[in-house]
Amino acid sequence: MSAAFVLGNGVSRLLVDLNQLKQRGKIYGCNALYREFAPDVLISTDKGIAQTIQNAGYAQEHTMYTRKPLPGMGARTVPQTYFGFSSGPIAVAIAALDQHVAVYLIGFDMGPNASNKFNNVYADTEFYKKSSSLPTFTGNWIRQLVTICRDFPNTSFHRVMGDTTASVPELNNIANLRNMPISDLLDRINNTKDL
């Protein structure tokens, strides 16, 4: 199958034109992304925002996964193997389960923003921490991504590195995961080069 793009909500992904990206592959996104862009698959595990998304009728029209879907609202249950994982890693796992050969992780910054604070596109909005908050603990996300890479040895994962994307030692020595400069991704997208 073709490439898949999994969007985290770290600010580094703001450099990527999502509509352009959509021309090149299936898009998996998380949580508040739905406010501005409808990915092919949306994952939302935090109860508050997940229920808001479902109550807005989003899951009736689009594919959405959450841990405990509201009855009759159209959302699907997160695969049991990855039930406790966070939204971003679950999105990566579902992209792999969908048998994409290459999965690009965009906005998986896993570090603070340029001001050394909470790094999220949606900081200061409903269900999100303030932009002045401390960065989110990333240990679970890292552990979950390592697990997914191990579970899908034949899938090629690419972590797209922007200015605010942290270097994570645990992710640097995985055979099927490599770091990719965001300039490289943008070049391939903008100039319709192979992915």
Partner: protein
């Protein structure tokens, strides 16, 4: 086991026949305290509180200010096999890791299993509850052990049983799972839950002493996972090194998975 989990219930006016009122609805909220000490991130409002209350379905309705703990249960039936993994609720705490729980999947009159405990969820108008095994003063929330399959009435009940906390969101027969989150949307299972604290399974997925002492402790609540609070009885100084388990001075806040309607 420390202070057990509070379970909301009703009082009928100190025995003098007064109106029923809910007790243990929630801990004193911050709006009712004269000099509250909140979490370091100051993200709790005046209606919110630290600690958790288990709730008491089906007689009470949870709300955003007084949620109910969301539990996944697999209650054993009289034959020893499980009823199946289902959403449930806590009725009362039986031990450090053990709870009397209900399975929120309703069982209609006529489908009761003899020997199985039930809690009446819909009294109905045509069910002969005493014939099914309930006491004569039955009502919504009454727990009884079925002595017959029941009849063709319009009442219903929830299965009831004792389950032990487990490190698995699809618990085996006789086990249950409660999860919590701490800011990164990961759902982590709880190894122990009191009315103030929860422990994870950092020390290992058993209740061996060597495992339990290494489990990480969190301050529970339903509302926020930002900031820390001081654990009573400690020095309140910063945790030394990279404390990830055992007793801590400063506790991270954890949101216990809950339902609000």
């Amino acid at each position: 086991m420390g202070r057990p989990l509070k379970i909301q219930k009703s009082s009928t006016g100190s025995g003098n026949g007064g109106a029923a009122v809910s007790v243990d609805l929630g801990f004193p909220n911050f709006g009712s305290l004269t000099a509250p000490v909140v979490n370091t991130a100051d993200t709790l409002n005046t209606t919110e509180y630290l600690g958790v209350v288990g709730g008491a379905a089906p007689t009470d309705t949870p709300s955003a200010t007084n949620p109910r703990i969301d539990v996944t249960v697999n209650i054993a039936n009289p034959s020893g096999t499980g009823i199946g993994v289902a959403q449930g609720y806590i009725i009362r705490q039986k031990g450090s890791h053990k709870y009397l729980v209900g399975d929120a999947t309703g069982v209609n009159d006529g489908s009761f299993v003899v020997g199985q405990a039930y809690q009446i969820s819909t009294v109905g108008t045509t069910t002969n509850w005493t014939a099914a095994g309930a006491p004569t003063n039955f009502g919504l929330g009454t727990i009884f052990t079925a002595t017959s399959v029941g009849g063709a009435g319009n009442g219903a009940a929830f299965s009831v049983g004792v389950c032990v906390l487990d490190d698995d969101t699809t618990p085996a027969v006789g086990l249950m799972a409660i999860t919590f989150t701490t800011g990164d949307s990961t759902a982590t299972t709880i190894s122990k839950l009191t009315n103030k604290f929860l422990l994870d399974w950092t020390g290992g997925s058993t209740y061996a002493a060597t495992s339990v002492i290494a489990d990480k402790r969190y301050a529970t609540n339903f509302f926020t996972d930002e900031g820390t609070v001081i654990k009573s009885g400690t020095t309140a100084s910063a945790n030394t090194g990279t404390v990830t388990s055992g007793q801590q001075n400063l506790l991270d806040l954890a949101i216990v998975d809950n339902v609000t309607s």
